[in-house]
């Protein structure tokens, strides 16, 4: 039965060195305070799987040396430019990249959600994305003639980590229309969530809220962290901190600048 963790660090205990960690795209609810706590703890060799893209979260973790590999379909700071630490790490060969395409990641998570070993997907054939994925296969669709189709193996993360507007004391988490968070939790062995605040009551008891709720059954840990998505947005709650992201994009272009950023925003601001 999930409980509200005594501290953010307690909640993050399931995220151990070397684990496969699933994280959502920037616009869905990224657990940034938790990410800074993981860097402070010095987590190592994470195998990140970002559904389907990632931005500051992966760039920070890569820059801080926490990442062994990333499977995703894009890493970028969006309007704030390329992801500088990710780009540098790729050019140095410091991390392993598993380039994918968005719907392939969605399908591979759904495969785990459904307990099947693979999912088929159209497209991809003739691309170098497919060419560089030895773990993906092409078969002939047995329901048609001469119809090659790609099969993607299920992605089974050890832990999913995200940030959401609220949870109740049973660990039910309100995710609204960000339904890939439900699929991620279903597909993962464990799920750790940070939330803006606690809902006083049972989210499943209200028929309107229940429609947007991930049941606590799938949730291992919940920690309350106000503005836990900062400086990224929390959908329909707060927007980007554009000034901060611009500062990050500027500092992180060099290794030294990135270290300054870490000192200022990760190590010194224990509570941020």
């Amino acid at each position: 039965m999930p409980v509200i963790a005594r501290s953010l660090d307690d909640a993050l205990a399931p995220i151990v060195d070397g684990c496969v960690l699933a994280i959502p795209r920037e616009s869905t609810g990224v657990a940034m305070a938790a990410t800074r706590a993981l860097i402070r703890r010095g987590v190592k060799r994470l195998k990140l799987v970002a559904l389907p893209t990632t931005s500051l979260q992966a760039d920070l973790l890569v820059g801080a040396g926490c990442v062994e590999s990333i499977e995703t379909s894009a890493v970028s700071l969006g309007e704030f430019g390329p992801a500088p630490r990710f780009t540098a790490a790729i050019l140095k060969g410091a991390i392993r990249m598993k380039d994918a395409t968005c719907p392939a990641l969605h399908a591979a998570f759904q495969a785990s959600e459904k307990g099947v070993p693979f999912m088929p997907l159209r497209g991809l054939i003739g691309s170098d994305v497919l060419k560089h994925r030895a773990d993906w296969k092409v078969m002939d669709n047995p329901f048609d003639e001469n119809d090659p189709i790609v099969l993607l193996p299920a992605i089974k993360p050890d832990v999913t980590l995200f940030h959401a507007p609220m949870a109740d004391r049973n660990g039910n988490v309100w995710i609204g229309r960000q339904r890939e968070l439900v699929t991620m939790a279903h597909a993962s062995e464990r799920t750790v969530v940070t939330v803006e605040n606690l809902y006083d009551g049972d989210l499943l008891a209200d028929r309107t809220l229940a429609a947007g709720t991930l049941p606590g059954f799938y949730v291992e840990q919940v920690a309350v962290v106000e503005r836990g998505g900062w400086p990224l947005p929390l959908p329909e709650h707060y927007a980007w901190d554009g000034e901060h992201l611009a500062e990050y994009a500027r500092l992180a272009t060099t290794e030294d600048g990135f270290k300054k950023y870490l000192d200022k925003y990760v190590y010194e601001r224990q509570a941020a």
């Binding site: 894009a74 790729i90 994918a100 395409t101 968005c102 392939a104 497209g123 991809l124």
Partner: protein, 250 residues
């Protein structure tokens, strides 16, 4: 360059051209950070009295999706997205798009963000409009280093979608899917055929006489400025302010 005295801006010309390419369809989806395609899609909707549906993916307010991030791709797989826009770090003469890296994939000399949904949407969206404002030999190359999404496919590969055109700051190309080649359709006012040839890294077809891209009509400009711009300001406030001098409505 458009002469200073021109009655419209470059962005308005491009949006008008793209709106015509969209044509009469049910649903246009526009990716993040694409203000000109967004302007074109909203212009098409204004002309069509509410048709097509326009999904601006950067903005939850401007999509109807309620089934999470997969819905865009599921929707496309169902054949319910008619037009989409793609760009690329590199685009080559066969319509291949590169969003990943330059040089050897294992030891790249440049890295882009990644393929996003291109490796799928290029196959299943009937009209994909390639959009790259920087028209140079760096972006329009003989052969991309990495194929995020191929311009064409073997006959036995199920494919209901693909590129129909490439629009740049200098010209408009159409794409011939059978021959897998671009054809120059028109050169934008203020630009020249020689300039297009000099700045394009791939070979392309061209008509004996290359037309000038038609300028937007007065009515098109009125709709863009009076109806589209205020809507656009919700999603692209900086762009709307710059191009249309419109501020986000209250």
């Amino acid at each position: 360059m458009t002469p200073n005295e021109a009655p419209f801006r470059d962005e308005e010309l491009l949006a008008a051209v793209v709106a015509d390419l969209i044509g009469d369809v049910r649903h246009v989806a526009v990716g993040n950070a694409s203000p000109i395609p967004a302007t074109a899609a909203l212009l098409a909707r204004t002309r069509g009295n509410g048709r097509p549906y326009v999904s601006l993916l950067g903005s939850p307010k401007h999509t109807f999706f309620t089934d999470g991030g997969r819905e865009l791709f599921d929707c496309a797989g169902q054949g319910r997205i008619d037009v989409f826009f793609l760009s690329g770090g590199e685009i080559d003469g066969e319509g291949n798009v590169n969003l990943v890296s330059v040089g050897d994939y294992e030891k790249p000399i440049a890295r882009f963000p990644g393929s996003f949904g291109s490796s799928y949407l290029y196959f299943v969206v009937p009209k994909v409009i390639l959009f790259r404002t920087e028209h140079s030999k760096r972006t329009l190359v003989p052969k991309v280093s990495f194929i995020s999404a191929p311009g064409g496919s073997a006959d036995n590969v199920r494919r209901t979608g693909g590129p129909i055109a490439l629009i740049t700051n200098r010209c408009l190309f159409s794409f011939d899917r059978t021959r897998r080649r671009f054809r120059l359709e028109s050169v934008h006012p203020g630009h020249t055929l020689d300039e297009v040839i000099a700045n394009t890294g791939f070979a392309f077809e061209q008509p004996p006489i290359v037309p000038i891209t038609p300028v937007p009509s007065a009515e098109t400009l009125r709709l863009m400025r009076e109806v589209v711009a205020p809507e656009l300001a919700e999603v692209y406030p900086q762009f709307a302010a710059k191009v249309f001098a419109v501020r986000k409505s209250a």
